[in-house]
Symmetry: C2
């Protein structure tokens, strides 16, 4: 088991060796560690190799000039200048928060970025400022719009964090597909079948084969079938795409640049890099702060009091499962599976860094 401190320190050193400033490397490392602590290893140490290889391929900018290129009192478009996604996203959310301090709310659409890890991290940055945080991003196009077979959208997640007085914050962080891409990949590796409604074959027939997307198939939007409202998931995913990319001038939908170096850059560009969208709403721009926080307590208590259905013992508030996993992981330490440890050791060796395998 690794401590968060050990892994954060290692991650900072990796990014510093790539050429990032201490400040940028630290900002990026915090997002990787947050994913591990939230029990989402698919966005944790696993992804360091992706960034290492993008750096080797000279497809990321470790000395970016991240800047506002257009703004109004409550909005900004940020150009990430090809930065590591976590760095561009952290800076963008800070700008949204600064805007909100003055204008009541702040909204930032970011272009020229890359894969930014877990959306929930940025939405939660707003909480310590007594704000509601919102965050969205596009991702590799593997999802087909309803009635189509062309992968045009990513799993395009949405995260919203809302503070309360006495309880952990409400934190919704979810992809706009029935299942996250990482979980589908895991089922594929295990050779398991998946329920109908996750994926379709290249003709648009329902499929239970998680690897069908390697054979021209595609993931389906939240709802899973038109009958069950997949067109609503398509709407959601499209909104994330437009807010993140058309508002900022990034590569929307099928033009999203790959987040891994083994996939070639696309022939056609319609904008700059990957796009995200951030929002911060100051609580006291709507309500006296304490009144709002007390009412959120009442909201949480009300929903926790819902009667569980057969086979369930309790009803969850969004964010509770991640919070409980984090408590457990903080106690037990972070477990890194062996193949990932091996990758980290290889990266360490090639950068002349220490990494202890088998902790």
């Amino acid at each position: 088991m690794y401590t968060p401190e050990y892994l954060e320190d290692f991650t900072i050193r990796v990014f510093e060796k790539m050429g990032c400033s201490k400040e940028d490397a630290t900002a990026a490392a915090k997002v990787f560690i947050a994913a591990e602590l939230n029990g989402l290893p698919s966005h944790g140490m696993l992804r360091i190799k992706d960034y290492f290889q993008l750096w080797q391929a000279e497809r990321i900018n470790v000395k970016p000039n991240i800047r506002i290129v257009h703004e109004s009192p409550s909005t900004a478009v940020v150009d990430g200048d090809g930065a590591i996604g976590m760095i561009a996203a952290t800076r963008s959310m800070e700008i949204a928060i600064e805007k909100a301090k003055v204008a009541g709310t702040g909204w930032v659409s970011t272009r020229g970025s890359n894969h930014y890890g877990i959306a929930g991290y940025y939405s939660k940055m707003a909480l310590e400022h007594d704000m509601i945080g919102i965050c969205m991003t596009i991702a590799n196009p593997v999802v087909a719009p309803t009635w189509s077979v062309t992968p045009m959208l990513g799993t395009n997640p949405i995260a919203v964090a809302i503070p309360s007085k006495s309880y952990p914050p409400f934190v919704a962080d979810f992809s706009t597909t029935p299942i996250a891409r990482g979980k589908l990949a895991v089922a594929g590796k295990k050779g398991e079948k998946v329920p109908l409604g996750y994926v379709q074959d290249k003709y648009g027939n329902p499929s239970d084969n998680p690897d069908i997307i390697k054979e021209g198939g595609s993931m389906l939007t939240l709802g899973g079938s038109y009958e069950h409202g997949s067109h609503k998931g398509y709407c959601l995913s499209a909104i994330v795409d437009i807010f993140s990319c058309v508002l900022s001038g990034a590569n929307f939908g099928p033009f999203c640049p790959p987040s891994v170096a083994y996939l070639p850059l696309k022939d056609e560009k319609v904008g700059e890099g990957t796009g995200h969208f951030f929002g911060a709403m100051r609580i006291d721009a709507f309500q006296e702060k304490d009144a709002f926080l007390s009412q959120m307590d009442k909201w949480i208590e009300t929903f926790k009091s819902a009667k569980p259905g057969v086979g369930h013992e309790r009803v969850l508030i969004p964010g509770e499962p991640e919070m409980e996993r984090q408590e457990r992981i903080l106690n037990e330490g972070i477990s890194i599976i062996e193949p990932i440890q091996k990758e980290m050791k290889e990266i360490a060796d090639s950068l002349n860094l220490e990494f202890q395998v088998g902790m």
Copy 2:
């Protein structure tokens, strides 16, 4: 077949007879007619009786003092003072648009309102100002959070309207459930079964009986089952609830006041009336307007070019089906089913108005 003008004129007269000002009556009538023109009769003439009966029961305020009770440069909380929902909502969206003109974006959370008809109407108000419009509302609690059997949430719709240069606007307007409440009711009246994933019985077992909600059952959130991501639909619906009601001080979740007079007011109040949430984002607060509109054209062309799957001839852009229905209805006229015509005639008689049955 009725003309939109005839029905709008009739609706204005009904609301004027109830005591509304000409301006308020006109604002309300426009939303009713928009529902009919969009081919959504469940939110059209059918609902006039609901408001007529709420007025008879003295449960709406026809002379409301709709006002801002809290604000910042980009936000406001609006108190609807018990107004007809369409009037409070129209005023609230106007305020969001005014805020956006100055601050780049405008965000309004509204309390003390009532059922406001179709969400898409208000989001589309932003389009003529070269803005993106956003709108959400709570509704009667008939939807259970994932893993629970207690109806705590409404079908809580979200609407987002985005302008383009050469095409009809992108207009997403969808409930956060697999199916809208009205369609479920229709299936019940026809004695039809519905697919699993729409509703559950009072114990939480899947059900294909659309009338099960009259026997202690509940509707399910978008996703339909946990396996298919219903917790994501729960997150979405909860976000709509909190933005509409906790930010404004309205009655959240299970405390949402009934939108019909035959249901008694609830014993417990946690705020004022029904809540909604509105947003307006000025395009040129993010991008030069023409550049954005051209890029939206490219977005629409890209998604229209997606290859249709088996059994489908084309891929839709959100808003297209409603737009096509509207073109047809504008040509053919508005068809009102006989029972609703009868209700309208009864209302006309009791208010000393003319209404011609059988047009």
